[in-house]
Amino acid sequence: MGGNVIEVEGLTKVFGDFTAVDHISFSVAKGEIFGFLGANGAGKTTAMKMLCGLSRPTSGHATVAGYDINTEAEEVKRNIGYMSQKFSLYEDLTVYENIELFAGIYGMKRKDISRKAVTILKKLGFYSERKTLVKSLPLGWKQKLAFSVAIFHGPKVVFLDEPTGGVDPVARRQFWFMIYEAAERGITVFVTTHYMDEAEYCNRISIMVDGRIEALDTPAALKRKFGTDSMDSVFYQLARGAKRSE
């Protein structure tokens, strides 16, 4: 499979007579930042859930980090990180306790956890807040922390489901800086987003419409192809043809 961390071939999910994801195929290279775009109800979340081993495909194949999602879901889960659109850390635990919990879930040793946590917290400038309850942090901080927790155990791929919802542009820029840093260290980033300026930050993007991938290329190539200079317009031209919406 070469340098591809995610390989998807004809992946399909059918709920009753509704085909949420319709034979999608793509691959993502190691260290790539892959943007997964689509209107609400286009099937993004369903596709992502299958790749994370949360939901079984109706048909089709996919490997994530070299493991088959149909037969090796446990191994897939061990090698990925996940951050969901709802801010997902425990609000009533402290910053450090959250790190400790998730690292513990992934089987890290306590000694390693505390050493690595100190390094990361210092780098984020959160070290003085390590005993603060997460609920009293500002949203931008929480998201940075959630991302750090998602990649703390050193996953091969990190799935980010609309990670920057609700924060200001400055915090978003800082967040993307962290994503770039992770990608440079070789972590593949699979990210869904609503913000078209964020789509520009990705190496390649795919746009889903009605359960199918209608476009997949670098942002620059897509803009050329659709004869426009904004991602917004590319997205709009594709999404306009959608039959279904939420």
Partner: protein, 371 residues
């Protein structure tokens, strides 16, 4: 690997529970409050009944009987009237709950063929209270009559007197009934409500998703959730026992360990029930309401805490057989109050174990299927 994960989760669950001080206070304070309420404030025994005497003609027997009533803890004589027409007024004004009405010429007629009579007129708006006070009064009258019958050699007057012996609870204290009931109620409420709410909370906040994409097995998450509430329930169990032994003076007549084993089974059952509710409920509020209505009401009505199940219509008795709390309460009564060896509670042990296994099995299956 799995054990380490498990302990990471258990630590987290304890932090959730311990950090929420207010809930903690309610959890640990509830059994204390309930025992004290049931023990002292709410009582099915009736004392100091406001009693009026209707005495048309005073006589020696009337006087002695009245003194007996007055001396009893149950009655306090508020007034003595001589005119039958005043009775209605007493009840209407709320001056009396019971009127003991002697027939005219009570003393003289006692030894004539006409005979004497005593009527007991009770305010029956509270039926339980009414039957209790008339029963107490009948006993006093019966005692007195058989006393004078014996002394005068007129055995015929007394007839056959039942000789009543109250087993296991000689003083007829209601605490003997409610302590097992409160145990059954508290344990199931705390375990089921708290577990279901805490699982549903994770679904609501989205953290459950995070756990599911991790390599953790769902059973590890669920088991870890049960640990802190298991501990809280054991603390509650011991608190209730301590309060009932030292505050209400109800001894544990049977084996403490048998009682504890029974309670552990019941606690596990309740935790599993909470887990089952969490697979149905979508929000914390609905989890709370579901455990409230589905558990509180049946437990109150069908666990013999308030009402005797044996006197209910057949359909309700069948239904009550399905209520785990009922079997637990029966088991606790057998071991704690009656002091029977564990063998005699075998039926309760078996039924509760089977119920626990079934509920646990179903809830784990449902949990797996939903993921």
């Amino acid at each position: 690997m799995t054990m380490k994960q498990f302990f990471a989760f258990v630590r987290k669950e304890f932090r959730h529970v311990l950090r929420d001080k207010r809930t903690m206070l309610i959890l640990l304070g509830m059994p204390v409050a309930q025992i004290i309420l049931f023990g002292f404030a709410i009582s099915t025994e009736i004392r100091n009944i406001d009693t009026a005497l209707l005495v048309p003609d005073m006589g020696e027997n009337v006087r002695k009987l009245s003194e007996k009533f007055d001396a009893s803890d149950y009655f306090s004589i508020v007034t003595v009237i001589s005119d039958e027409a005043d009775i209605d007024g007493l009840f209407q004004r709320g001056d009396a709950d019971l009127v003991i009405a002697f027939s005219p010429d009570f003393d003289e007629n006692m030894y004539t063929s006409e005979g004497s009579s005593i009527r007991l007129i009770a305010d029956a708006t509270n039926t339980n209270a009414a039957s209790a006070m008339t029963m107490y009064a009948s006993n006093i009258i019966g005692d007195y009559v058989s006393g004078i019958a014996a002394s005068s050699g007129m055995y015929g007057v007394s007839g056959v007197q039942p000789n009543i012996r109250m087993l296991y609870n000689p003083q007829m204290r209601s605490a003997y009934t409610f302590v097992p009931g409160v145990m059954g109620l508290i344990i199931i409420l705390i375990c089921a409500m708290m577990t279901s709410v805490s699982i549903v909370r994770e679904k609501e906040t989205g953290t459950m998703e995070l756990l599911l994409v991790s390599p953790t097995k769902p059973i590890v998450v669920i088991m870890a959730k049960m640990v802190p509430y298991f501990v809280v329930s054991m603390v509650n169990y011991l608190t209730i026992l301590a309060l009932s032994v030292w505050l209400l003076h109800i001894p544990i007549s049977g084996s403490f360990w048998a009682l504890t084993l029974l309670s552990v089974i019941y606690i596990v059952l309740s935790l599993a029930l909470g887990q089952l509710i969490s697979t149905i409920a979508k929000t914390q509020v609905s989890a709370m309401l579901m455990s409230g209505f589905m558990l509180l009401v049946p437990v109150l009505f069908f666990s013999e805490l308030l009402f005797p199940v044996d006197s209910m219509p057949l359909v309700f008795r069948w239904f009550s057989d399905l209520i785990p709390a009922r079997w637990y309460v029966i088991g606790v009564k057998k071991i704690m109050i009656e002091g029977l060896p564990m063998f005699y509670a075998a039926r309760e042990f078996i039924i509760l174990s089977v119920m626990a296994a079934v509920i646990l099995g179903v809830s784990l299956m449902r949990y797996k299927n939903r993921m």
